[in-house]
Symmetry: C2
Subunit: 428 residues, 2 copies
């Protein structure tokens, strides 16, 4: 960390839509951006620890992965192409039950590596063992917003309060948001206690919401309400928050989202692979609901790749609406960057502006799919892939550059450990 | 070109399903593979011009892009998020009409670059100016099966006969298959003449087929038949062939496909972005119809990325069938490699076996999305991206390795030329 100057850069600040500064300069001082603009406006002389010739490549805000379960990397490609009930019951749950703290530590580091290769600078992570996750992500230098995944069998309101206090007042790379796994895994009493905690801290609350048709149906049977209506009836959304997936929101759910200022995080890769359905993203956009994009966990997706998700958000909307103009690519780019930051409470990581955190990525414009340059942002959304990520920086520190990781850990060690996690379980 | 030995390789031959040879050796002599198997079985001594330590990465057959319009790269990201009719009428057709031979030459080379980065070793290309396309692809060392794109306004049966004779008897990298653009752009008389030519050469015939619901409806109105029924009634499919897209085949169309041994090429990226629909791939599989995968052209997709297409083939099938077990990932990998080779008549480029062309790619197993190694083939289909392609070889020649191209052309020149193509048109 120190002072870094990027020059000869195209810069997509995302401050005012999709405007691109040509031949610009961006400087970083410590964790934050100190200047963005035309060459010449930055601090002169040689106070910089490093000057990077961007060579016409594009600097843009890092992507925000607004829903994931990082620690599940051990289950990647372990049980694909199964019906949902067999996938969960036979493959996922029995193995998750065996996970140790140490397992989660290594699996989370593997996820962070993949995020960095996809230009992702922060994730919204719901998983077991918050202190372990914080240790893993902080050691990598990665920004992680954790959210409670409480259910009837794991975590508790008391633990959430402890984590809320501790993880919001330590390393600024880590923050913690109150949450519940889902209506169908939590008792009414448990959710009511969480609502009480949310009122105490005036805090937003998040959970899986209306991911599948059967989830909504089950909730209606239990309470005569949708998952959104039920959570709202308990006061869970009085201070905002949002839902992951949101594939099956009703008209009234949408009104609640608008009234409470809730965010909807869409997870099209996971919803596709698990045959859950297509979220009505174009409607959410028209209704003005805040939108963000998540990969979901590597057991259900299976990769942690914002480029795949971005194409799917617009592509599936076009299929669902039978309209090739549905959900403009630039709206998707906004969701994947600024929208995610807002949903996650990362108000200093949304755009490239002086004073914001230096959470950014560099797109390699010398790749064939980035040419010709008819429209840079559409190139990113419709043609982009991990192969186009040249550099990823979080809080002023370059964590990934030209295929190499700078995360204080040897990738080979991480791979070995994660392979051991799943191998040990398979043999047990 | 010469003799090359790959060692310390994982090898997915695709000869017998998804078996992987661990710690294997593959040798290349000239254009063809001379040995695949355990270390020790290859020619001993040092006859090799180069020995490549594969370091446990994976060698597999190159992907076959079974439907594309390579020369359309100039229109990438030129007109996205428009309704289909405006996209074609306002953006695409007026600019295609201005294309010169030289434009197509450079645009095709840009497409070849992208194919190589995606592990694609051959394409099935329908576009204007076959000699120019052959020049561009052969200069790159790339394998290209061209297909007639004849319609009422462009190309002719006479020209197709000339191209058929010349392009099937020159450089073995190039071949030519008879074809028509689509029923809706060809008169009955024109298609009847093409059928006569197909009978003369006992040759298969290909065309766009049932891409949109309105295309099928229009054909029914004109002839009382589906596009498949109509083409078959003219004798076009007497010697086989197939259709691109095949989103809306009827029960009777499926019977015709089976009876004639026709291949269906699915193009899910394009069908998604243009809101055309989802092809019933699981049904085609069950019916035993030969399947292959294509990217379609860069104006409609917008990228030429087999990884995106593979995920979409299985993912969209799962959504369409409401079944997470629909279209197993391994079936998709077969379509993208062996299936494509069969459809394109590339019977010596399908698997990795001694005697076959050395058309192969190397998957970088050291990328985070390829770990852990629970299932290599599912990792490729569900988590793979262009970032995982370490090397691509066509006919024994390494055309792409570690991000560098070996195609007898400076990438910067190609980018400059293609940017000039579209810039010149926009200003005209």
């Amino acid at each position: 960390m120190g002072m870094i100057r990027f020059y000869n850069a195209r810069i997509l600040t995302m401050k005012d839509g999709e405007d691109v500064i040509e031949d610009g300069v961006l400087t970083v001082d410590g964790e934050r951006i100190s200047y963005v603009g035309d060459a010449g406006g930055e601090i002169k002389g040689s106070p910089y620890d490093r000057e990077i010739d961007v060579k016409g490549n594009l600097l843009m805000p890092g992507f925000k992965n607004a829903h994931t379960h990082s620690g599940m990397t051990f289950l990647r490609s372990f049980a694909d192409d199964l019906p949902l009930d067999r996938w969960l019951g036979e493959a996922i749950f029995p193995r998750e039950a065996k996970l140790t703290d140490d397992d989660i530590y290594w699996c989370t580091k593997l996820a962070v590596m993949e995020y960095l290769t996809s230009g992702i600078t922060a994730c919204f992570d719901m998983y077991l063992k918050p202190y372990t996750i914080a240790k893993a992500t902080e050691e990598c230098g990665f920004r992680c917003v954790q959210v409670g995944g409480m259910n009837n069998f794991s975590q508790s309101v008391e633990l959430q309060e402890e984590w809320y206090e501790n993880l919001n007042n330590g390393n600024p790379l880590t923050s913690y948001i109150l949450g519940y796994h889902a209506e169908y895994t939590c008792s009414k009493e448990l959710l009511q206690s969480l609502s009480d905690l949310a009122h105490k801290y005036k805090a937003p609350v998040w959970g899986h919401n209306s991911e599948t048709a059967s989830e909504v149906e089950g909730c209606r049977e239990r309470y005569g309400l949708t998952p959104t209506e039920f959570a709202d009836s308990l006061g869970l959304f009085e201070f905002g928050g949002g839902g992951y997936h949101c594939v099956f929101l009703s008209d009234n759910d949408i009104e609640i989202f608008k009234k409470r200022g809730l965010y909807a995080v869409t997870n099209p890769g996971s919803n596709t692979k698990l045959a859950s359905g297509i979220a009505p993203v174009s409607r959410y956009l028209k209704e003005g609901i805040g939108l963000a994009i998540g990969t979901d966990g590597p057991a259900s997706n299976n990769c942690l790749d914002m480029f795949r998700e971005m194409f799917l958000v617009t592509g599936l909307a076009k299929l669902k609406d039978n309209d090739a103009s549905s959900v403009d690519g630039n709206d998707v780019l906004y969701m994947a960057t600024v929208g995610g930051a807002k949903a996650m409470g990362l108000n200093d990581s949304d755009t490239l502006e002086a004073g914001k955190y230096a959470d950014l990525t560099m797109i390699d414009m010398s790749k064939p799919e980035m040419q010709p340059v008819n429209n840079i942002t559409k190139n990113i959304v419709y043609s982009g892939s991990k192969a186009d990520i040249k550099l990823t920086m979080v809080a002023g520190k370059i964590l990934y550059e030209d295929g190499r990781f700078h995360i204080n850990e040897d990738p080979g060690v991480i791979y070995k450990k994660v392979n051991e996690v799943i191998k040990g379980m398979s043999e047990a």
